[in-house]
C-alpha cells in the first residue's frame, strides 16, 4: 500500500501531538508534509513564560527537534504560511505560490492574539504574547530598561508582567475588570492574586480602560479613559485570543467562533480535519493544552480509520508565575442547589462548589497542593457526600470519620498555631486558660494576644475554651452581621481600620467571610463602612447599593420614582419654583407635594425621564436633595430672628450653613436636622436626629430624636455661645456617628448603645477630640460633595436609566 498524503497546516502543540500519536500507532501510514508559519520546529508554547523570565532557554522547551522530523520522514516547511485551501481540488497553496495536493488535510492553525485597535496600536514597541518572536521582542525591550505596560490582567498578561519584572523592567498591569483573572478566579481569589502580584513590585490598576497608546515614532506611554497617562517604552497587549479561522473560512469550511468539528474532529469539508485552539467543538473553544491533546488522539485515530470520539473537556487552570499558586477548575459559579465550602486563612483561599453531592468547581489560592485531587473528583463525578465535612482539607483527611469540631480542636498538637497574626500556639492558650483561670474570649485576648488582631481565629479560640473549660464556658453572643460571617458590625468596622482593608473582596478574604461574595445585607453595610473609613480612596460599589442610592431617586410602589431637589434650609425662589412647575408640566409628573422636611417632591417620574428631569432642574441651579440617602437629608428651619418677633437667632441662616456643610455626606442611616429660632420650636427640632434650639444665650444642641415608628424627644448635648461652635460640634457629632454607627442604625439607637456620656466626652468636653472628628468630617466631605444628578446628566451610569432593548410584538410573539 502506498502511503497516502497528509498535509498539516500549523505546527503547534496540537499538530505535534497528532503526529506523535500517528507515528506511534501506524508508522508509515501517511506521507506527511507540515507547513508552519513560524520559522522553527515544534516547541512547548506554554513554557514561553519561563523563557521570558530567563528561567529557561528556547532549547529547553523544544518538543520535536529536526532529527525527529527526519526520523519520521516528515517534510517540515518552516516559515511556510498556507494561504489557500481548495477542498474540491484537494490542494493547498503556500505564500510562495506552490501548490500541494492531499488525501487528508489537517488544520491546526491555533489562535492569534486579539489586538484592540487603539490609537497607536501599530507603533513600534507594541507587542503581543503568542510566540517566540514576541518573547525575543520583549527580552530586547527589557534590555533597554524603563517601564512596560501590560494591557490585560489574565493568565498571559500576568505571566508577561512577571517575566518582564524578572528582566528588570518596571511593570504596570492594566486590567479592565475589577479583579484579576476574573474568568478563572472569583473576586476573593482575584484579590489575593493582586496582592501577591503587587508584592513583587508590579503595579496593578484594575477597572483601567485604556484609551490610547501614545508616541510618535515609537511607544512613549498609554492614556486611560480617566485621563491618567503612564509613560512606558513597551506595551504588551494580552487581552485574549481568537481562533485562527481565516484560512478555513476562505475555503468555505463551516466556521462559527472556531472551525466547526464533530466528535471525530472532522470539519464540514470531506477529508479535512482540524484540531487545537482553532476549532469549535459542541459550541466550545479551548485555550489550554489538555483538551487539545485529547482532540489530537481522536484526530489521529480518525486519520487511521479507527473509531474514536472526543466528547469535550473539563479544564483546569494554573498560573505559571513562580511563587504564586493559583488553581481553578470547572464551574465555580454559585447557584440554586449548589453548596459552597469556603476556607480562608492568611494568604489562603479555597472554595469548592458542590451540586448533588458532587464536586463541580474549585478555586484554590495560596495552597494548591490538592488541586489535582479535586480535579480528579470533579472530572470523575465522584460522589463526595461521605467526606463532605473534611473535603476542603484534601485527601489527607478524606475518608476519615468526620470529627466533632471541638474534639478536632482538642486533638490538635500543642504546637499547632492557632493565631496566625500573633503566632500563638494551642499550648500557650490552653496553659493560659488553666494557669490564669481565664473564662472568656476577652481574657484570652488580653493574656495571649490570640485572636486579638484579625479575629479570624476567634472560632478556634472559642472551641479551645469549650474544650478546656467544658460547660463552664458560655460564648458571648455578639449577633453576626449576617449569615456570611460570625463577626458583628463593630468587630468588622474595627478590623477594616486596623487591617487597612480597602475593598469588599479584601474584607471578605481577610475576615473569613463564609460566602464568596456576600449577600444583600452585608454588601451595602461594607460599602458604607469602606466609604466612611477611606474617603477619597475607596471607590463606591454601585452594585452594593440599594436602588434609591444607585439611581439617586426614591422608588415608588409602581416602579416610578420621586424626585426632590435640594432647597437649602427650606428656602426657595420664584425661579426655582418656576423651573419645578415647568418640569412637572413637561414630563407630565402626576403629583407635586410639599414634604415634611420643607422640600418639594415630584412623584411618579419614569426612570427613563430621570436624567432629563435633573438636567432641567440643574439648569435652574438645583442639585439632588438626597431624599433617598442613608446620609444627610434635610435641615428644616423656622424663619427665626429675620422675621419672627420671638426669634432669638438667625435660625434660617444657620440651617442653610449647616446644610451647605453637610450635604452629600453618607451615614449609617438617614440624618435629618432642624433649627428653631426660639423654644417655641416651630421647626420641630426636638424630634430630629440633630436639632438646634436657639435661645438668648446662644445655641442649644440636641440630638438622638426620632419621629417615625418610634417617636422620641431629643436629648440636650450642650449649649454653646456661637454659631461657629455649634457647627463644629454638629460636624464632630456626625462624624463620630458615621464612624461608630452600625449600618441602618439611626443616631438615637447608636446613642443608646454607646451611651450619651461617651458622646459628650468626645465632641463637647475634649476640645482636641472635637476638632479631630470635625476635621475628619470636613476631609471626607471634600470627596462627597459632588452632585450625583449633574454627574448622571453628564452621562455617568447611563445604563441605569435606559432599557437594554425594547422588543416589538413581532419579535416577542411565538
Amino acid at each position: 500500500m502506498t502511503a497516502r498524503k497528509l498535509l498539516v497546516v500549523g505546527n503547534g502543540m496540537a499538530a505535534g501531538r497528532v503526529l506523535e500519536t500517528l507515528f506511534e500507532t501506524a508508522p508509515g501510514a501517511y506521507d506527511v508534509t507540515v507547513f508552519n508559519a513560524e520559522p522553527r520546529v515544534n516547541y512547548n508554547r506554554i513554557m514561553l513564560s519561563p523563557v521570558l523570565s530567563g528561567e529557561k532557554t528556547y532549547e529547553d522547551i523544544l518538543i520535536h527537534d529536526d532529527a525527529w522530523y527526519a526520523a519520521n520522514g516528515v517534510d517540515l516547511r518552516k516559515g511556510a504560511r498556507v494561504d489557500a485551501v481548495d477542498t474540491a481540488a484537494k490542494t493547498v497553496t503556500t505564500a510562495d505560490g506552490t501548490v500541494h495536493g492531499y488525501d487528508k488535510l489537517l488544520i491546526a492553525t491555533g489562535s492569534g492574539p486579539v489586538i484592540i485597535p487603539l490609537p497607536g496600536h501599530r507603533l513600534p514597541g507594541v507587542v503581543t504574547y503568542r510566540d517566540l518572536d514576541d518573547v525575543d521582542a520583549m527580552v530586547a525591550a527589557a534590555r533597554a530598561g524603563g517601564r512596560a505596560v501590560v494591557i490585560g490582567g489574565g493568565l498571559l498578561g500576568l505571566e508577561a508582567a512577571a517575566g518582564l519584572k524578572a528582566r528588570g523592567m518596571d511593570v504596570t498591569v492594566l486590567h479592565l475588570m475589577p479583579t484579576l483573572m476574573e474568568r478563572q478566579l472569583d473576586p476573593a481569589g482575584g484579590y489575593l492574586l493582586q496582592r501577591a502580584i503587587e508584592d513583587r513590585g508590579i503595579e496593578v490598576i484594575c477597572k483601567a480602560n485604556t484609551e490610547a497608546i501614545l508616541g510618535t515614532d515609537r511607544v512613549e506611554g498609554v492614556r486611560l479613559a480617566d485621563g491618567r497617562e503612564i509613560a512606558c517604552t513597551l506595551v504588551v497587549m494580552a487581552v485574549g485570543i481568537r481562533p485562527a479561522t481565516a484560512l478555513a473560512k476562505a475555503a468555505g469550511i463551516a466556521v462559527a467562533r472556531g472551525v466547526v468539528v464533530d466528535d471525530q474532529m472532522r470539519t464540514s469539508a470531506a477529508d479535512v480535519l482540524a484540531v487545537g485552539e482553532c476549532v469549535e467543538h459542541r459550541g466550545a473553544c479551548y485555550g489550554l493544552v489538555a483538551p487539545l491533546y485529547e482532540m489530537a488522539k481522536v484526530a489521529a485515530k480518525t486519520l487511521l480509520g479507527e473509531a474514536a470520539a472526543y466528547e469535550g473537556s473539563v479544564t483546569s487552570t494554573k498560573l505559571k508565575v513562580t511563587g504564586i499558586d493559583v488553581f481553578s477548575a470547572g464551574d465555580f459559579a454559585e447557584g440554586e442547589g449548589r453548596q459552597e465550602i469556603v476556607y480562608r486563612a492568611p494568604g489562603v483561599y479555597k472554595r469548592l462548589v458542590l451540586k448533588d453531592d458532587r464536586l463541580i468547581g474549585a478555586v484554590l489560592y495560596g495552597d494548591t497542593a490538592d488541586g489535582g485531587w479535586f480535579f480528579d473528583l470533579l472530572r470523575g463525578g465522584t460522589e463526595v457526600a461521605a467526606m463532605r465535612d473534611t473535603l476542603i482539607f484534601g485527601p489527607a483527611f478524606a475518608g476519615a470519620a468526620p470529627l466533632d469540631p471541638t474534639a478536632a480542636v482538642a486533638a490538635l498538637p500543642d504546637d499547632a498555631q492557632v493565631c496566625g497574626c500573633n503566632g500563638v500556639c494551642k499550648g500557650t492558650i490552653v496553659k493560659a486558660i488553666t494557669d490564669k483561670g481565664l473564662t472568656g474570649l476577652d481574657d484570652v485576648r488580653a493574656h495571649t494576644k490570640a485572636s486579638a488582631s484579625c479575629g479570624s481565629c476567634t472560632p478556634l479560640v472559642e472551641k479551645l475554651l469549650v474544650a478546656t473549660l467544658g460547660g463552664a464556658y458560655a460564648a458571648a453572643a455578639v449577633p453576626p452581621m449576617c449569615k456570611c460571617t460570625d463577626l458583628g458590625h463593630d468587630e468588622v468596622r474595627r478590623l477594616i481600620v486596623a487591617k487597612e482593608l480597602k475593598s469588599i473582596p479584601a474584607v471578605m478574604q481577610e475576615l473569613g467571610w463564609k460566602t464568596s461574595c456576600g449577600c444583600a445585607k452585608c454588601r451595602p453595610a461594607l460599602n458604607y463602612y469602606l466609604l466612611c473609613d477611606w474617603p477619597g480612596e475607596y471607590e463606591d460599589d454601585q452594585q452594593s447599593r440599594f436602588v434609591n442610592e444607585r439611581v439617586h431617586a426614591n422608588i415608588q410602589k409602581d416602579g416610578t420614582y420621586s424626585v426632590v431637589p435640594r432647597m437649602w434650609g427650606g428656602l426657595t425662589t420664584p425661579d426655582e419654583l418656576r423651573a419645578i412647575a415647568d418640569v412637572a408640566d413637561k414630563f407630565k409628573i402626576p403629583t407635586v407635594k410639599v414634604t415634611g422636611g420643607q422640600r418639594i417632591d415630584l412623584l411618579g417620574v419614569k426612570k427613563e425621564d430621570l436624567p432629563a428631569v435633573w438636567a432641567d432642574l440643574g439648569k435652574a441651579g438645583m442639585i439632588s436633595g438626597a431624599a433617598y440617602a442613608k446620609g444627610l437629608r434635610t435641615v428644616k428651619t423656622c424663619v427665626g430672628s429675620e422675621w419672627c418677633r420671638f426669634g432669638t437667632q438667625d435660625s434660617t441662616g444657620l440651617g442653610v450653613k449647616l446644610e451647605k456643610m453637610m450635604w452629600g455626606s453618607w451615614s449609617p442611616a438617614k440624618v435629618k436636622l432642624g433649627v428653631s429660632g426660639c423654644p417655641r420650636n416651630c421647626a420641630e427640632a426636638t424630634c430630629k436626629d440633630i436639632g438646634i434650639v436657639c435661645v438668648d444665650a446662644g445655641y442649644e444642641i440636641h440630638y438622638a430624636g426620632a419621629a417615625g415608628m418610634h417617636v422620641k424627644q431629643t436629648e440636650v448635648l450642650t449649649l454653646v455661645a456661637t454659631e461657629a461652635e455649634a457647627m463644629e460640634i454638629v460636624a464632630a457629632l456626625t462624624q463620630l456617628y458615621r464612624e461608630q454607627g452600625r449600618y441602618l442604625e439611626r443616631i438615637y439607637k447608636w446613642a443608646a448603645r454607646v451611651g450619651g456620656d461617651s458622646i459628650r466626652a468626645a465632641v463637647v468636653d475634649d476640645l482636641d477630640k472635637r476638632r479631630h472628628y470635625a476635621a475628619r468630617f470636613h476631609h471626607s466631605q471634600r470627596f462627597a460633595q459632588v452632585d450625583p444628578w449633574a454627574e448622571r446628566v453628564g452621562g455617568r451610569h447611563a445604563h441605569e436609566f435606559a432599557p437594554m432593548a425594547a422588543l416589538g410584538i413581532g419579535e416577542a410573539a411565538e
Partner: protein, 118 residues
C-alpha cells in the same frame, strides 16, 4: 436554525449589564429583567416580584438571587421562586450567551407573562 434556537432574540451584549446588576428589556407583554451575576451567569425573569410586583431589575444581586427593592423578598434567578419563608414565583425566561451576545428565548413569552400576571 433548529427548533431550539429559532425563538432566540438578541437583546444586547453581556457587557451592557453591570456585574451583580440587571437591565430591563421591554416587550409587548411586559418588562423582563436580565441579570448578570458576579461570575457572569446571565438570567432573565419577568420584571415583577411575586409579592407586590416590585421591579426586580432594581434589586441587589447576590449569588444567584436578587433581593426585591420594595420589601426585600429574595428571589432565585434560576427558578424565579421566592426563597426563605415567603412563597411565590415569577416567570423565568431562557437565556443564551454566545460570543458576548445575550439572547432571550421568547418562545413561550406570552404564556409566561399571562400566567405570571394572574
Amino acid at each position: 436554525m433548529n427548533e431550539a434556537t429559532e425563538h432566540l432574540v438578541a437583546v444586547g451584549r453581556l457587557d451592557d449589564i453591570p456585574r451583580q446588576g440587571a437591565r430591563v428589556v421591554r416587550t409587548a407583554f411586559g418588562d423582563l429583567a436580565v441579570f448578570r451575576t458576579a461570575d457572569d451567569g446571565v438570567f432573565a425573569l419577568r420584571n415583577a416580584c411575586p409579592h407586590r410586583g416590585g421591579p426586580l431589575s432594581e434589586g441587589i444581586v447576590h449569588g444567584r438571587s436578587v433581593t426585591c427593592p420594595l420589601h426585600n423578598w429574595v428571589i432565585s434567578l434560576e427558578t424565579g421562586e421566592v426563597e426563605g419563608p415567603d412563597h411565590g414565583c415569577t416567570a423565568v425566561i431562557g437565556v443564551s450567551v454566545a460570543d458576548g451576545v445575550v439572547r432571550l428565548d421568547l418562545s413561550r413569552l406570552a404564556a409566561a407573562m399571562a400566567v405570571a400576571a394572574e
